[in-house]
């Protein structure tokens, strides 16, 4: 069934999630998120809480990263150090993919100006 509602506007781009909300949305225990923080997989938003995990808040990219980490752990059976490295490598690959696509576009624009030999 398709249903179209009125126009929706995005208002909460700076939304923060509490540790509890992150766990609920990730389907995981707080311990796992605390471990992810200690492995540097995610960082709580600055200013919200200190050592105490209960006061932590995470932004949307952090929540998405935690969810991705949970999927990778579940599907590929990766431990935490492996997850930390995989996510860093995936980020790096993403950056490189973007760079390649930018360079390809520039090259195409450059050669279309110069003609082909």
């Amino acid at each position: 069934m398709t249903r179209t509602t009125e126009m929706l506007t995005v208002e909460d781009s700076g939304v923060l999630y509490t540790l509890r909300e992150v766990c609920e949305r990730g389907g995981c225990h707080a311990e796992l998120v605390i471990k992810m923080v200690s492995y540097g997989i995610v960082e709580p938003a600055p200013g919200a809480g200190g050592e105490e995990g209960q006061q932590w808040a995470f932004d949307l990219p952090s929540l998405l990263r935690i969810q991705k980490a949970i999927r990778l752990q579940r599907d590929l059976n990766i431990n935490l150090p492996g997850l930390a490295m995989s996510l860093d490598l995936l980020d790096e690959m993403d950056t490189m993919r973007r760079e390649i696509s930018c360079l390809r576009q520039r090259l195409a624009q450059f050669s279309s100006g110069a003609g082909e030999e």
Partner: protein, 319 residues
């Protein structure tokens, strides 16, 4: 219904050992994991691989499947299970893959489902359980112009309802969304409460829209900056000129400094991505030549060659 050749999905032979099957599965799961692979159909392939492994890893299911494969498959690739077919092994979920039966195909359901299809979280459904609906992820490809100015877009995605029996029912949902100006590729928009509905009074999940940028014929994007290659005539570069340059959605006059060379970058402040800290547009000059010269122009080039004879454009090549 199409017959699914699980051996082909995993790329193993019918006589493959459990160890070979596990190895093939692990390799393909890594390759097609939707968080790793950028292939368009990675999601579907990952599900196929998981489904194939779910059957072939289990000796009982594998034996049943082998039997069906022998008798049930038709030459045209379609499939009907034999009349009265009922799986003895059923499907309990769990195991190494912690597979979720909701993800599997009709073919799988026909053979091993036994009416369990979509039982919430592998059968542990409680009518009174209060649970938040799942977040739904979707991608939205936009043109550079749309990203710059913001736009209104129609987005279609699938949410999962849970019916009174705990069955998960997919539903297509369409929304009109106002995209704010200045979004960047890979950024997410959250639409609160637009994901799958919750259960037992739990709140609905969110829709998370990931922004993608469609390739642009004129512009390239680098961080917050927009790059454009602009051809100029040799005399414009040598003498300086004012040339018209396209910007995203408009155009602007740019002064090419006297004595510019090919590849020179001119920065147009604030003409890049809009936002609190707007990016710049970077104009890269490219010297373009007419394809044919008049006799008059050739004579002028002769003069130029004489006047500039000490210039070696290949000095960097040491020749």
């Amino acid at each position: 219904m199409d017959f699914k050749d699980y051996y082909a999905v995993l790329g193993v032979s019918e006589s493959a050992s459990p160890e070979e099957i596990k190895k093939a599965y692990r390799k393909l799961a890594r390759k097609y994991h939707p968080d790793v692979s950028k292939e368009d159909d990675a999601d579907a392939k990952f599900k196929d691989v998981g489904e194939a492994y779910e059957v072939l890893k289990d000796p009982e299911k594998r034996a049943e499947y082998d039997q069906l494969r022998k008798y049930g498959a038709r030459p045209d690739g379609s499939f009907e299970p034999p009349p009265g077919w009922q799986s003895a092994s059923g499907f309990g979920g769990g195991g190494y893959t912690e597979a979720d039966a909701r993800q599997f195909s009709d073919f799988f359901e026909e053979i091993f489902g036994g009416g369990h299809r979509g039982g919430f979280a592998g059968g542990g459904f409680h009518r009174n359980m209060r649970m938040r609906g799942e977040d739904v992820h979707a991608r939205l490809a936009l043109f550079l112009e749309e990203v710059f100015d913001g736009c209104e877009k129609q987005v279609s995605f699938t949410v999962h309802d849970v019916d009174d029996h705990g069955r998960v029912v997919p539903r297509q949902k369409t929304l009109k969304v106002k995209i704010p100006a200045g979004m960047r590729e890979g950024q997410h928009l959250r639409l609160k409460g637009q994901g799958s509905p919750g259960m037992g009074g739990g709140e609905a999940g969110d829709l998370l829209l990931e922004i993608e940028l469609a390739p642009h014929p004129t512009f390239a994007v680098e961080g917050r900056d927009v790059l454009v290659t602009v051809p100029v005539a040799p005399w414009e570069a040598a003498l300086g000129a004012t040339v018209t340059v396209p910007t995203v959605g408009s155009k602007v006059n740019v002064k090419v400094p006297k004595g510019s060379t090919s590849g020179r970058r001119l920065r147009l402040k604030g003409k890049g991505f809009p936002g609190q800290h707007p990016g710049d547009q970077i104009v890269i000059l490219q010297i373009a030549m007419p394809e044919v010269h008049s006799q008059e122009a050739e004579a002028l080039y002769q003069q130029l060659a004489e006047a500039e004879k000490n210039f070696n454009p290949r000095s960097k090549l040491h020749v």
